[in-house]
């Protein structure tokens, strides 16, 4: 017993010391010491790694390790860590905005309120646009700092379009897009497909992009009603079906699509602007052959902006180097320079307004045939309709996935019937009512 008592004494002493260190006032910048681990995925991890050298000039004694776990594993391991009471977590955690609510709602103590770490933090956070902060805020707590956003655009092969006589400037509607796709495929032969269906474990990416373009989502903006069977979503689903029925889809996930791009077997890609870094990094030999244009509208003159993805960085409560973690987040996301560094490295589109006005945005990009692609991308930013993922996002997405796959394969149901079924199932699963 006495031995146990002694150990307990030592432990409580250590805990006390730890509390003392943690509550000590924030140290001066360069005095910060320690090691921090960052969890992130592919292009996003690459972007953060690009910021580290500059960060170490300002904070030479903080050692940053960016671990590229892959997108889904970061989410899975984060949820597992939080549900185990916050163990095995990194010091800085990457989370996609639309998936983030589940963390704040179910595990309110797993991550730190960034404002509680430094009195000046609130001012920095206030610089970010409100639509980015909504999903990261619960009450007066802000759990993460906005990182990038994902304006969706069409990436296309200039040479393949030209060979088929298709002028991307004339693709104004999704019907034009389908006609262009048929022409390009006819010219390029059976090995080439027009666009990837962007389907890894979930087939809903296309639907979610077009639904957001039409101003519709699984849930309404307050996250209180199921809205997946509203007219905007029906229009989105019908359009995706038309593209599929026209035989334009390559059935491939993240890796398969990049392989197809490298093998000259994909003529275009519809994704968030963050895909820019992946195309460029994956196929540097195709420099000059790729270009970008805005999403086609549902009808001529309609909205051509949509968002897919976009992430934030949070600090788990279990972090032993909170101040160093905060310093890294502030440095990487709160400064225009770092955001431009990440745009150059991976194509991550800044959300910090100061960064959007950086001269780099106006520069022509050699890989993209000298096109000023960031202007094309950022011009859509103001027309993006806000949406809320809610804590039920993963569940709703998984239900919609099953029902949509059956519809896309052709089960004889209409898009409206399909989405009515999805709405009913999502409502049954979440307990939220279907909106009128």
């Amino acid at each position: 017993m006495s031995a146990l008592g002694r150990i307990a004494g030592i432990l409580s002493g250590m805990a006390g010391a730890a509390v003392l260190t943690l509550t000590a006032p924030a140290m001066a910048q360069s005095d910060l010491k320690g090691e921090i681990t960052v969890w992130s995925w592919n292009v996003a991890a690459t972007a953060l790694k690009a910021v580290v050298p500059d960060f170490n000039k300002a904070y030479p004694n903080v050692k940053v390790t960016v671990e590229d776990l892959g997108n889904q594993p970061v989410y899975d391991r984060g949820l597992a860590g939080c549900s185990a009471g916050g163990i095995n977590m990194p010091d800085v955690y990457s989370v996609e905005n639309h998936e983030s609510s589940v963390f704040w709602a179910r595990f309110p103590d797993c991550f730190l309120d960034l404002k509680s770490l430094d009195p000046k933090e609130a001012d920095l956070l206030a610089k970010f646009p409100q639509f980015k902060l909504t999903e990261l805020t619960v009450g007066d707590k802000i759990y993460a700092m906005p990182w990038d956003s994902g304006p969706a655009v069409v990436f296309y092969r200039r040479d393949m379009f030209e060979a088929a006589g298709v002028d991307p400037a004339k693709i104004a509607t999704w019907d034009d897009f389908i006609a262009a796709g048929k022409a390009v495929q006819a010219k390029a032969g059976p090995d080439v497909k027009f666009v990837s269906n962007n389907t890894d474990s979930i087939s809903t990416t296309w639907f979610r992009i077009l639904a957001n373009q039409a101003g519709c989502a699984y849930f309404d903006e307050a996250g209180e009603n199921v809205t997946v069977n509203q007219p905007g979503c029906v229009q989105a689903l019908e359009t995706v079906k038309k593209i599929s029925d026209a035989g334009l889809f390559l059935n491939a996930g993240w890796d398969g699509s990049l392989q197809a791009i490298k093998a000259n077997r994909l003529a275009a890609s519809v994704y968030g602007a963050w895909y820019e870094g992946s195309i460029r990094g994956n196929a540097p030999e195709l420099s000059g052959k790729w270009g970008v244009f805005q999403l086609p509208a549902f009808a001529a003159g309609g909205n051509r902006a949509a968002n897919i993805g976009g992430s934030s960085l949070a600090i788990p409560s279990s972090s032993k180097n909170r101040q160093a973690a905060l310093a890294f987040i502030n440095f990487a996301l709160g400064r225009p320079d770092s955001q431009i560094t990440q745009l150059k490295a991976s194509g991550l589109v800044p959300t910090l307004p100061e960064a959007i006005h950086d001269p780099y945005i106006q520069q022509p990009q050699p890989y993209w045939g000298g096109q000023k692609i960031w202007e094309v991308v950022l011009n859509t930013l103001s027309q993006i309709k806000p949406a809320r993922g809610t804590q039920y996002f993963a569940e709703a997405d998984s239900i919609a996935d099953g029902i949509l796959v059956a519809y896309m394969k052709g089960n004889g149901k209409s898009a409206k019937e399909t989405l009515d079924e999805a709405a009913e199932q999502i409502s049954a699963a979440t307990g939220l009512p279907v909106a009128d």
């Binding site: 899975d76 179910r106 996930g253 077997r265 039920y392 998984s398 099953g402 049954a428 699963a429």
Partner: protein
């Protein structure tokens, strides 16, 4: 668990028997001490059992009666169990699991029996090498072999579709088409487990006395007669053992659909009870519902195992 309980019952009896020769007072104490000894040996196991089995079993039963999506969790006796009845995604996962059970398990056991008979043939040379070759897939970790199958069956660049094209057959989108996905998973499972079952069946074959076959041959029985009238009936208990193992394994199927078809595939084409349970528990953070699914799987496995055992009990060879 079975062996442990049996040892626990038998041991005190023998202890008591040896102690009965002792004198009264001391003997009584010693008898008790002897009687307790096996329990002391079992104690470490029971402690582990209590912490890692009993507690989770009770706790998950309680979880299944709570709404775990509010903070803090609230009692709501029906919320999860009611959902099992209306949740079409769950029904689809259940359907996929039953399809695998109805197709893959019989095919695999037939192949395994054929393989075992072949391996048992006195005409076969280098037998140990073949035995090892067919058993080898079990030695490979399931994650590693799943990844290899995922690459082989890749729709655009996989070796399987290349072979199909070379043979002039149309290619199949193995990892995205709902029907093809399930077949891919079944092919992979068959590759991995056929040899394992064949080795178990081979052990059964070797316990069948040779003279039965000799006598039958003398009586003029054809090889087919010998197989259906001697081999199969005598092999039945082993076959049922393999069947029970495979059926229970299938109800818990997780690794193959998760890794080969990427988390059960788009649209849940290869969603099984195992992957659906995981998604509810650790992707949607719906512990209560996941617990209800877990109990359903356990109940199903118990009923199926009981059915299989009843099949044999009726006509014992």
């Amino acid at each position: 668990m079975g062996t442990a309980t049996r040892a626990g019952i038998q041991a005190p009896r023998t202890g008591g028997a040896s102690a009965s020769a002792q004198s009264d007072a001391r003997g009584g104490w010693r008898r008790r001490r002897h009687a307790l000894a096996p329990y002391w040996f079992l104690l470490p196991y029971f402690l582990v059992f209590a912490v890692f089995w009993c507690w989770p079993i009770i706790d998950s039963a309680l979880l299944s009666l709570q709404n775990t999506r509010v903070n803090p969790w609230a009692w709501n006796l029906g919320i999860n169990w009611r959902r099992l009845w209306v949740d079409r995604a769950f029904h689809a996962a259940l359907g996929n699991t039953l399809i695998i059970m109805a197709i893959q398990v019989p095919v695999m056991l037939t192949l395994a029996t054929a393989l075992a008979v072949a391996l048992n043939s006195p005409l076969l040379k280098l037998r140990p090498i073949y035995r090892f070759a067919f058993f080898a897939p079990v030695v490979v970790s399931d994650a590693a072999y799943s990844v290899v199958f995922r690459v082989l069956f890749n729709g655009q660049f996989g070796a399987v579709n290349h072979a199909f094209t070379a043979l002039g057959l149309p290619t199949i989108d193995w990892l995205q088409d709902p029907n093809a996905m399930l077949s891919t998973v079944m092919v992979a499972m068959t590759w991995r487990w056929t040899g394992y079952n064949a080795i178990i069946l081979l052990a059964g074959l070797q316990s069948i006395p040779r003279d039965l076959y000799e006598a039958a041959a003398i009586d003029g029985a054809t090889p087919a007669d010998r197989f259906f009238r001697i081999t199969l009936p005598l092999l039945k208990p082993i076959l049922v053992f393999c069947l029970v193992l495979s059926v229970i394994g299938t109800t818990q199927l997780f690794t193959e659909p998760w890794l080969i078809t990427d988390r059960g595939g788009p649209g849940g084409g290869a969603e099984t009870l195992g992957t659906y349970l995981y998604k509810q528990g650790f992707v949607s953070m719906n512990f209560g519902y996941a617990a209800a699914i877990a109990y359903t799987i356990a109940g199903m496995a118990a009923v199926l195992a009981a059915l299989n055992l009843m099949l044999t009990r009726g006509k014992q060879a």
